[in-house]
Amino acid sequence: MRNAMIIDGKDNVAVAIEPITAGDSVTYACEGEEVSLTAQQDITIYHKLAIRDIAKGEPVVKYGEHIGIASSDIKAGEHVHVHNVEGHRENLEAKE
């Protein structure tokens, strides 16, 4: 059963669309293929989890865009939220 989703193929976090308990299999669709990993922590419904390891200082990507910077190393399957992500203002005019 799909219990998570990603929005863009570039995302490194998925959104839980059902309540997820540590140890659960997390399944989401990516370009038509089902992908699974194991949740390392409980994930509240609609919160995010890492779908691959994200090193401290790397951008966290959702909607295919940067939503912040990892403030600590995040392992695949871990909860991604204010405790391990910081907002980061980018110069988007230059990026555009």
Binding site: V15, I17, Y63, I67, V80, V85, E86, G87, E93
Partner: protein, 386 residues
């Protein structure tokens, strides 16, 4: 698709037929409350401004006052002023007249001779106006006459996954019908402004999108504040939104996929039949909704992940949530459950259903915010807040 609305003498089309008892300032606001309570069909609101303001700040208030009176959902306006405030009666009437030729009556409390005499005058004027308004017959109009306001408040991750996506689908359909859709909340473009700028119809609109975002950030920095201090809110975070960028990337979905044809300043008159436009408003919901209604929006669609009751004194507000738990908990307040967008629903079909609901509401169907009597509003201040 069509709806049944009210033709106004200025050529615009209303979806409600209210008489507005308009307080020129905070000092007239209790008087307008007392007047409107006596007159079935009259509406008012609490204006906390209208005096002791610097010029640019007063202009924001004046644009909301004039815009409310000119909104086509209003048949006519009884303006009530104290008499000595900065928003003088002649200035308010002049600002309204610049936008519309609809009926206006005037009550100045200090000239009338105090509360009881002013209330007596105001009630009689409002009753006469309601009687005239009640004689109007509805006519059939195309949806291209609609200016749709779009808002999100109390967001959570489902707003960006479902409710705002559905509103975006609706916005594209309103644009395809030849109408106008307004995307608002400049604070919630921060971190996503490059995506909107890519969709600008002209280089001028492209530059204006960056300009309004940077202006907002700079204005806050000038007073030593950081936009992130208040945004995301505690409720946004509890729901799972981590950063302002994440909130913004969800917020801008309300604008669908259409080109951005214009950027309007706060509460300025929006043209009809203009496609997708942006209005520069704060993320604070009541003052953002007030600006779009002052701009002429007859109907507002409003997404909320956490659930919010906010309405408007003169425009129906349709509430939409993408969170199935919130819909189950707050169904009394929320009109549409958009959560099927997440769980395999057909977005195109849901967009068509929502367009039909907008047409029904435009023809008179009460929204939940209307049936519960929600009319709160706020007016932005020149020192921007989030």
């Amino acid at each position: 698709m069509t709806f049944y609305g009210y033709r106004r003498p200025d050529g615009r089309v209303g979806v409600r037929n209210k008489v507005l008892v308009l307080p020129a300032s905070v000092c007239a606001s209790d008087t307008t409350r007392i007047i409107a309570q006596q007159v079935e069909g009259a509406v008012t609101f609490n204006n906390q401004q209208g005096c002791s303001q610097v010029a640019s700040d007063q202009q924001l208030t004046m644009d909301v006052l004039a815009g409310y009176a000119a909104n086509p959902n209003v048949y006519g306006t009884v303006v009530v002023s104290l008499g000595c405030e900065n928003c003088q009666m002649d200035l308010v009437v002049e600002a309204i007249r610049a936008r519309t030729n609809k009926p206006i009556r005037q009550v100045i409390i200090q000239e009338a001779g105090g509360t009881l005499k002013a209330v007596d005058m105001g009630v009689r004027y409002a009753k006469e106006m309601v009687a005239e308004a009640s004689m109007l017959q509805k006519e059939e109009f195309p949806l291209s006459e609609l200016i749709l306001g779009t808002e999100c408040g109390g967001s959570d991750p489902t707003s960006g996954l479902a409710a705002n996506v559905l509103i975006g689908e609706l916005s594209d359909r309103i644009v395809a019908e030849g109408g106008t859709s307004i995307l608002s909340e400049t604070t919630e473009f921060i971190g996503a402004e490059h995506i909107l700028a890519r969709r600008a119809a002209t280089p001028e609109v492209h530059d204006r999108i960056f300009e309004i975002v940077h202006r907002y950030e700079k204005a806050l920095q000038l007073v030593g504040e950081e936009v992130r201090e208040g945004n995301p809110s505690p409720g946004n975070k509890a729901g799972g939104i981590t950063t302002l960028e994440e909130k913004s990337l969800g917020c801008i979905h309300k604008g669908g996929h259409s080109p951005v044809n214009a950027v309007y300043d706060y509460a300025k008159q929006v043209e009809s039949k203009q496609g997708l436009v942006i209005m520069d408003t704060p993320g604070n919901d009541p003052s953002s909704v007030a600006a779009m209604v002052a701009g002429g929006a007859q109907v507002v669609v409003f997404s909320s992940g956490r659930g919010t009751p906010t309405g408007s004194p003169i425009a129906p507000v349709i509430k939409i949530t993408g969170n199935r738990i919130t819909f189950a908990k707050m169904e009394d307040n929320i009109d549409v459950d958009a959560s099927p967008v997440i769980y395999g629903g057909d977005l195109k079909e849901m967009g068509q259903d929502l367009l039909e609901l907008v047409a029904e509401v435009a023809s008179g169907k009460q929204t939940k915010a209307e049936s519960l009597g929600y009319t709160e509003m706020a007016i932005a201040r020149v020192c921007n807040y989030v």
